[in-house]
Symmetry: C2
Subunit: 160 residues, 2 copies
């Protein structure tokens, strides 16, 4: 590549935000598909409940964006919610905040190495991908929980 | 953004390849963690076995890269493997092929809309992310299968 060629792009920051929000719309449907009495109760193999997994996702999402904007990182704190309604309310609030705050992350910062929450050191793009991957990973577990409960999960490809 | 400013980069094509290969190293460990007699037998809630899910991942990975290079797409075909050893052998072969062939995808092509396998229409970057997300999603299911079998899965963050 010549020295003055533009840096190659796999995906832009804005398309990545939209990709993540597509996943978050699907995860919201999975939360909503759990019966209220199973969301914080049902699990397999001594794993966490889907409600607990969703609280982890919430605890990481907006604080990561704020950390990438400010370069100031508090310790990680799991979100607080003990009902499906409260979880969905916080989920929707995070959706709005992600859209509003993401553009304030300076684009070149995605290539910088950061130490998130005082403990995870990696390039900022890898950190954001870790959040998305962690959500997809745990949501895949949620699909098994739903199937084991006899409930058809939403289609994996539905991101609208 | 001024008209002559470089396009913002969330992640470059080469970093994306390495990110995917990190996931593929973890998925390989998950395949290897299954007892031979459970890989194509155990499931929960009438879902597919992890062996079948891994065959799907294999059937999509290299053919997607070849399609992105040539713009010619055959129909999707699930990989053939009925033993853990054969699955791992094909997995390692795909690992080498991905590294060898990925650089032949022209970088601007990741922003083009493609119709993969004659049926899935989306930007090329979304297609590659779909492959990775699909792998993470199904691997998350594999984690539940392993836990239900009383087997500790490899750590999610281990990608080396």
């Amino acid at each position: 590549m010549p020295a003055d060629a533009p840096a190659p792009v796999f995906i832009s920051p804005d398309a990545m935000r939209e990709h993540w929000q597509g996943h978050r719309r699907l995860t919201r449907r999975v939360i909503d598909a759990f019966p209220e009495d199973q969301l914080f109760a049902f699990s397999i193999g001594a794993m966490r409940t889907f409600g607990e997994l969703a609280r982890e996702m919430l605890g990481m999402a907006v604080p990561t964006i704020e950390g990438l904007i400010s370069d100031e990182w508090a310790a990680y704190v799991e979100a607080q919610a003990t009902t499906r309604e409260e979880l969905l309310r916080q989920w929707d609030l995070a959706t709005e905040t992600i859209d509003a705050r993401w553009p304030s992350i300076p684009a070149p910062h995605f290539q910088d190495v950061v130490t998130a929450f005082g403990q995870w050191t990696m390039p900022a793009h890898a950190l954001v991908l870790y959040l998305v991957d962690n959500e997809v990973h745990h949501r895949g577990q949620g699909y098994v929980y739903l199937r084991a409960l006899g409930i058809e999960p939403p289609p994996f490809y539905a991101r609208n």
